[in-house]
């Protein structure tokens, strides 16, 4: 068996434009370091994140998913994140109920000034997901069979 390359997870972070995306930019400005495997998708508001995006991410091969927005009360659009909170309180539980490991999905409030929190969250999620290994649950079938065939 060939020596396996150490597992690098693919993590997607849906970040609202006004708080978390700004916080992530600030982390850059401050030259903070976090793992390369966290990729930000910019959305106007965490309320824009349709829970179905999360399913799609797991299906297509993401090993971890984050949804980040402004703290409740600070939403640029005043109430968007209150809906986010309800949606993902329910969705997170539903995902876990369906067998997705709790550590693979995280929702977090990160403000535009909380660069360190963004860095820490990215590092923490990355580390957890790395420990769990590649996600196979909800993965697209054809690709799994393909890689399985390629492996044998």
């Amino acid at each position: 068996m060939p020596v396996e390359k150490s597992f690098e997870p693919a993590i997607v972070a849906f970040c609202c434009n006004w708080c978390t995306y700004t916080g992530a930019d600030l982390a850059g400005l401050n030259r903070m370091k976090y793992p390369e495997n966290v990729h930000v998708i910019r959305v106007p508001c965490s309320g824009r994140v349709n829970p179905q995006f999360i399913l799609r991410a797991f299906q297509k091969g993401c090993d971890g998913v984050m949804v980040c927005g402004c703290h409740p009360g600070d939403c640029h659009y005043s109430t968007g994140n209150y809906f986010t909170r309800r949606r993902f309180m329910i969705m997170k539980r539903l995902l876990e109920y369906n067998g997705i490991d709790p550590e693979r999905f995280h929702a977090r409030w990160i403000s535009g000034s909380e660069a360190a929190k963004f860095r820490d969250t990215a590092a923490e999620v990355s580390e957890h997901v790395k420990k769990l290994g590649p996600n196979v649950k909800y993965r697209e079938e054809f690709r799994i069979t393909e890689s399985a065939e390629a492996g044998t």
Binding site: F83, R86, I90, R93, L94, N98, W109, K137, E140, E141
Partner: protein
């Protein structure tokens, strides 16, 4: 039994004869004694086709969506479960109350697994009540029992449980088509081009259908159990929606859908003091 059946036929006949309703939806017989099928009677003379027995199981409310803009009222035999479904449709702005004539028929329980969770035998909404209300069944202990059973499993066990369940799903969408909470003009699952739902029959896509549908109806489910009754593969579909209901109950207290036509759905509103786990 036959006395009630007679009342139903008389009521339907009168409605049709007086022109109060364009047609009446009820149950009619099939070639098997232990099965009925929904029938739609327009002719007063045909009212004799309605039957009322322990096999009058199918919920009729969803048929109202086939005829959302009727010229005359639609008569509908309405039990507890139908009435909650109608509240669902009213709340979702899918039908107009003045377009239906609800003939209340308190239910005596049917020979169906879907009735085991029933808590309202009597219609909570009707225009006429044909006979005295029945006693509601004792509060179903363990409304969420099976959800608890699944919650007790490990994540991997849960994945296997649902994975195997969805392996046998044939994606016939009977669950969706019978569900009063599934009242979209067009289901997201019928629009594979939008990218949310693949058409392929794979565990992954089946699971995504299951979870997405649960999320779409979870805070709106009236727990009528029709989805499970119609499933040709006997899948525990309500095990998903009830999970959401259970969580909502735990997060904000007593939550039940279809008890009125105005309460906002859980995910359609928020509370500043909602529990927060995302700090």
């Amino acid at each position: 039994m036959s006395e009630k059946q007679e009342k139903m036929r008389q009521c339907a006949e009168k409605l049709l004869r007086d022109g109060e309703a364009g047609y009446v939806i009820g149950w009619g017989e099939t070639r098997f004694d232990d099965r009925t099928t929904p029938i739609f009677v327009e002719d007063p003379a045909g009212a004799g086709a309605f039957v009322w027995n322990e096999y009058a199981i199918n919920s009729l409310a969803k048929y109202l969506l086939d005829d959302k803009y009727p010229d005359k009222k639609i008569g509908l035999f309405t039990r507890g479960c139908e009435s909650r479904a109608i509240n669902r449709l009213l709340k979702d702005n899918q039908i107009k109350r003045e377009n239906v004539y609800l003939i209340g028929v308190p239910c005596d329980g049917k020979k169906s697994d879907r009735c085991t969770l029933c808590r309202e035998r009597n219609p909570i909404l009707y225009d006429v009540l044909l006979w005295t209300p029945e006693d509601d069944p004792p509060p179903a202990a363990g409304r969420f029992d099976r959800v608890k059973d699944i919650e007790a499993m490990s994540p991997d066990e849960r994945y296997v449980y649902w994975g195997e369940t969805y392996d046998s799903c044939i994606r016939c969408y009977a669950c969706r088509n019978v569900c009063p909470a599934c009242n979209c003009r067009e289901c997201y699952a019928d629009m594979s081009k939008t990218g949310f739902q693949g058409k392929q029959h794979s565990r992954s896509d089946n699971q995504i259908f299951g979870v997405t549908r649960a999320f779409h109806v979870g805070d709106r489910c009236i727990e009528c159990g029709e989805c499970e009754r119609v499933c040709p593969m006997n899948l525990p579909i309500m095990g998903q929606t009830q999970k959401i209901l259970k969580d909502i109950n735990e997060l904000t207290g007593e939550y039940e859908c279809g008890m009125d036509a105005t309460s906002e759905n859980y995910l359609g509103r928020f509370d500043l003091d909602d529990k927060d786990e995302f700090m």
